[in-house]
């Protein structure tokens, strides 16, 4: 089992286009005045300043494979036929997690009653950037893996998809020591701050 790789400050470009798209903007269809665009862009920039993007990743060997379960080093067992079928030829998995930090979440909550427009934009910024953090962590691990003649699979699975139950979030939480990122887990397996995500990726050999 690999050591934990913590990333205390993930630096990414704010993805304006995907944020707009997430909010429902459709190129060539949605009409926006200059004032409206300026307002939304200013909220995006404001949100960007509130983000404190952090992440973590850890590799684990697959030591047992059943039709509906993968057993990993470190005593982790994922029961999911989806996972088994998506990662058929991989010898290990990479578990990753990222969070937006609590500052942006507090700001979103503060906007709920009086300034929902701002809140909705903040929410979209946090969601999109935290997803990008997972891409960033994958890129980082790909660099390390290259030296071992390996690379990550293109597919990435998060808890809640198909039969990869949300309850697996508990495994991620402990295996990735998400508490060290100031992330907590509630009884319904939801991570807090709300914009915190986890995923699993396969590690495959390069020809």
């Amino acid at each position: 089992m690999d050591k934990l790789h913590f990333f205390d400050q993930i630096n990414i470009e704010i993805p304006f286009e995907t944020i707009y798209s997430r909010l429902g903007y459709r190129q060539g269809i949605t009409r926006l005045t200059g004032r409206q665009k300026e307002e939304i862009d200013s909220y995006i920039n404001e949100a960007a300043r509130l983000l404190r993007l952090k992440g973590v990743g850890r590799r684990a060997e697959i030591i047992g494979r059943k039709p509906k379960a993968l057993e990993l080093s470190g005593g982790v067992i994922f029961e999911s036929s989806l996972l088994v079928s998506v990662f058929p030829n991989v010898s290990e998995l990479l578990l990753i997690g990222a969070t937006s930090g609590s500052g942006i979440i507090t700001a979103i909550e503060n906007c709920q009653k009086q300034d929902l427009t701002r809140g909705v934009v903040f929410d979209a910024v946090a969601s999109e950037t935290v997803d990008l953090c997972l891409d960033w962590i994958c890129d980082y691990f790909n660099r390390l893996l290259k030296r071992e003649n390996k690379q990550l699979t293109a597919k990435r699975i998060s808890c809640g998809y198909s039969d990869f139950q949300l309850e697996n979030q508990k495994i991620f939480y402990e295996f990735l020591e998400l508490a060290k990122l100031d992330v907590s887990l509630n009884d319904e397996c939801m991570l807090k701050p709300e914009k915190s995500v986890t995923a699993v990726v396969g590690v495959m050999e390069v020809k």
Binding site: F6, F7, D8, Q9, I10, N11, I12, E13, Y20, L23, G24, Y25, R26, I29, T30, R31, L32, T33, R35, Q36, E39, I40, Y43, R49, P88, N89, I108, Q112, D115, L116, T117, G119, V120, V121, D123, W136, D139, Y140, R143, L144, K146, R147, E148, N149, K150, Q151, G160, Q165, L166, E167, N186, D187, E188, C189, M190, K192, E194, M204, V206, K207
Partner: protein, 804 residues
């Protein structure tokens, strides 16, 4: 081989590097997961044959297999003798190529990030690299290569380590993603600016992309490169074939693409992942007769941060260096800094960046504090909170030294004056760390009053700078701005210095703008007029409040600044009476006020809707009519625009919030019986137990209210028991439930079941990311995919229940 000889060679021809080591070692039997360095020592014949193959293919330089031979990386494999391992690997390379090729000591990342991105201290990183460099030197390397760097700060640490132990030729290459930045956000121009000024002998890119994408990087940086450029691309981008990643670019195609890189200005070229000795042989054949594009630029005037560069290149307006991060005269700021609180510094940085500053001055001189410590902490925080390059503004050379060593870019020193000891120390620091600097025409404590005195000091410092190996492109001259209250000639002398520097000496100039207006009324006006006059004299940069960046014409202020207004009498007489400029008169709208209210809702103009309503209300137009004939239709129109996607979510919500404000404002004027607006129905909303995501539910609440529903919002994480109790109390027409997760959506049927048990007559409407129509049908509820759909569903239910 000496640095000079390599430089000579680079003037004559393209220098060929080697190809991939890792992918070749795997082909030649290295098992996956092995430590390449120790495997090579255990299998010396294989690594030697690889080096020899590259030599035979035409490589002028081979990289010793020491890529990850640093303390941090080797500790994964429990290897401790870093120096000996590096030495032995270099010797293997030397045995393989003899003196027919140069052997480079290969240095790469530690696998950890330097603070603030990770836990590694900068000096710790320098120390780790120094240990590796010692081993490489013992092995007898001809040059160093620092490669595959994803963070400029780690590249700097390695470069400083090399430079402090050796004078050998050093190449630094960063790894850029397809989007053109490193994983840590560094762009090619900033990396070039920082690294070449710090003493890298060649700079460029390796890995990550194929030659085509690398062309974009090379074309961006070539115009600013004072050093030879390097490219070591992959053999194309890896493609998945039978679930395996394969590099597809064959030697001939690779060579053809690489030729383009050379035509764009690459001087040293080789290959990274997926390339083989055949690829290098292909390069050799293709580039045999190609002449190198040697950079003609000796120096570049540019400042950089880790993520942005400012190049001094004939800007139309003076560069604005934000002056606000300076605690002088700001007691609250001083108290904060003394407590180690940098929140104001960060706020001021962001504020000035948004106001248009392009570089920020950083002065943290607070009496009784450890300025060095403050400076390093601030640099660490500001390097992530602003992308602007920084000016290190301190009177203490030790603070400047620590700051320059740590700063992940090319900084500007503010400033170097003429006192001999200090001058020598600071010029040497500027040279060592590649910083630009400001020449302050002062020696000792006395301020030189005349142009002649200042000119003499400037010429002396300039001469010393050249002696230290610096050029005109490395500095700006401060015109030395003194307050007009100090001397009526203060501004005109400064203008004379600026004019002489720019026209005669042909060097760049800078002025601390706001000092001139100290003690005067209308300071901003004076500053802006002074800026205009200094600009006319050729001023390059102004240390100023970015809000003063627009030059201004004003005859009275010009006379004052030219020393033609004795004791500033006329200016003070006029401007001490004038209040600040009145705000621009708002353009009178021609359209009817009631139409403006409609338009405000359509456009989501929350700030003006209430004043527009006030303007619209009259004996002829009552509140009720405005609401029914203008405001509600506006909201209906917004809903329609949203449905056909001409509006997207922020517009819908902004309009809904505008409507909400407007209706609230109208309440006192509406007839009592309709003060709550005609009820289309009562909706009780809740996000179910265990679910903390309620932004979607809040949007639904807002929009429903705007469409005339009474909404009782219970909030998030609400138990079935509480929902039922509230439903009994309020007797709503509809209960709306929201859930985002699969684990919480199961609460929805529990609520519905409990409602049936209690005999409640309300209908249920559900929504949320994981909910769909099938699920809603299965639990006996209506489904609403978004807020407008929720309105439609609620109206449908309302009509069935006899609501209007």
């Amino acid at each position: 081989m000496s640095k000079l000889k390599i430089r000579e060679l680079l003037k004559k021809r393209i220098v060929l590097l080697d190809g991939a080591t890792g992918t070749e070692l795997y082909k030649r039997g290295m098992p996956a997961g092995a430590c390449p360095e120790s495997w090579c020592l255990e299998n010396p014949g294989i690594i030697k044959s690889l080096h020899a193959d590259y030599l035979a293919s035409g490589s002028d330089i081979v990289y010793a297999c020491t890529f990850t031979a640093n303390r941090k990386k080797l500790s994964y494999y429990k290897i401790k003798d870093v120096i000996s391992l590096n030495q032995r690997l270099v010797l293997l390379a030397r045995q393989a190529v003899g003196n027919k090729a140069l052997v480079a000591g290969d240095i790469a990342g530690t696998g950890e990030f330097i603070k603030p991105f990770g836990n590694l201290d900068f000096e710790q990183a320098v120390d780790i690299y120094k240990e590796q460099v010692k081993g490489l030197l013992l092995g007898g390397v001809d040059l160093f290569v620092i490669e595959t760097m994803i963070d400029i700060q780690e590249a700097r640490a390695a470069l400083i380590a090399v430079k402090e132990l050796s004078d050998k030729f050093t190449i630094v290459t960063m790894t850029y993603e397809k989007a053109g930045r490193t994983l840590n956000g560094n762009d090619p121009l900033s990396a070039l600016t920082t690294l070449q000024s710090l003493g890298a002998d060649a700079v460029g890119a390796n890995c990550s992309t194929g030659p085509e994408d690398m062309c974009k990087i090379i074309s961006k940086i070539k115009p600013y490169a004072t050093v030879p450029l390097v490219a070591k691309p992959n053999a194309g981008m890896p493609e998945l074939v039978n679930n395996k990643a394969v590099f597809n670019l064959k030697p001939a195609e690779f060579a053809l693409a690489a030729k383009r890189l050379v035509s764009l200005g690459v001087n040293l070229i080789g290959g990274c992942c997926g390339t083989t000795p055949e690829h290098i042989a292909g390069l050799k054949r293709k580039l045999l007769t190609v002449k190198p594009l040697v950079s003609k630029i000796k120096a570049v005037s540019a400042l950089s941060s880790a993520r942005r560069t400012f190049v001094f290149a004939g800007q139309k307006n003076p560069l604005i260096i934000g002056e606000k991060i300076n605690p002088t005269g700001k007691k609250d700021f001083q108290r904060e800094l003394a407590k180690g609180d940098f929140s104001s510094a960060i706020r001021l940085a962001k504020e000035q960046e948004s106001q248009g500053a392009e570089v920020l001055d950083l002065n943290l001189g607070v009496g009784g504090t450890d300025e060095k410590k403050l400076m390093l902490s601030a640099l660490s925080l500001l390097s992530v909170s602003t992308s602007l390059p920084l000016v290190i503004d301190s009177a203490n050379p030790e603070v400047i030294e620590e700051a320059l060593r740590f700063y992940p870019g090319r900084a500007l020193i503010n400033s170097i004056s003429g006192e001999k000891k200090r001058l020598k120390k600071l010029l040497n620091l500027a040279k060592k760390y590649g910083a630009m600097f400001i020449i302050l025409p002062i020696t000792g404590k006395k301020i030189p009053e005349t142009f002649k005195e200042r000119k003499k000091i400037i010429e002396m410092i300039y001469k010393e700078a050249v002696k230290a190996g610096l050029t005109k492109d490395d500095f700006l001259v401060d015109g030395l701005v003194m307050p007009l209250s100090w001397s009526s000639k203060a501004a005109s002398t400064t203008l004379e210095v600026i004019g002489w520097c720019s026209k005669q000496l042909k060097v760049k100039t800078v002025a601390g703008l706001s000092n001139v207006s100290f003690g005067l009324p209308q300071r901003r006006l004076v500053n802006r007029v002074f800026l205009k006059m200094a600009k006319a004299c050729g001023l390059t940069a102004a240390i100023a409040d970015p809000q003063d960046k627009q030059p201004l014409n004003n005859r009275l202020a010009e006379n004052l600044l030219l020393g033609k207004d004795k004791d500033s009498r006329k200016f003070i007489a006029v401007y001490s009476r004038i209040k600040p400029l009145a705000k621009e008169k708002v353009r009178k709208e021609v359209s009817e006020p009631r139409v403006q209210v409609y338009q405000a809702i359509i456009e989501g103009n929350r700030s003006q809707v209430n004043s527009l309503i006030d303007k619209a209300l009259s004996p002829k137009l009552k509140a009720q009519e405005l609401l029914e004939k203008n405001m509600i239709p506006a909201m209906v129109a917004v809903g329609e625009l949203f449905q056909v996607r001409q509006y997207f979510l922020p517009q819908l919500i902004a309009s809904a919030e505008t409507m909400q404000r407007g209706v609230f404002h109208l309440q006192p004027y509406l007839k009592k019986k309709t003060a709550g607006r005609s009820k289309k129905g009562v909706v009780l909303l809740a996000t179910v137990k265990g679910d903390i995501h309620d932004i979607g539910k809040n949007i639904v609440a807002l929009v429903l209210k705007n469409y005339g529903f009474e909404v009782i919002d219970l909030g998030k994480d609400i138990s079935a028991e509480k929902i039922i109790a509230k439903a009994k109390f309020h007797s709503p027409d509809i209960v709306g439930l929201s859930a985002l997760m699969t684990t919480t959506m199961v609460q929805m049927p529990l609520v519905i079941l409990a409602a049936k048990k209690e005999g409640l007559g309300c209908k249920f409407m559900v929504g949320g990311a994981v909910v769909n129509k099938t699920y809603a049908d299965s639990i006996g509820a209506e489904y609403a995919k978004d807020s407008i759909a929720a309105v439609k569903v609620a109206e449908k239910i309302g009509r069935r229940r006899g609501r209007p």
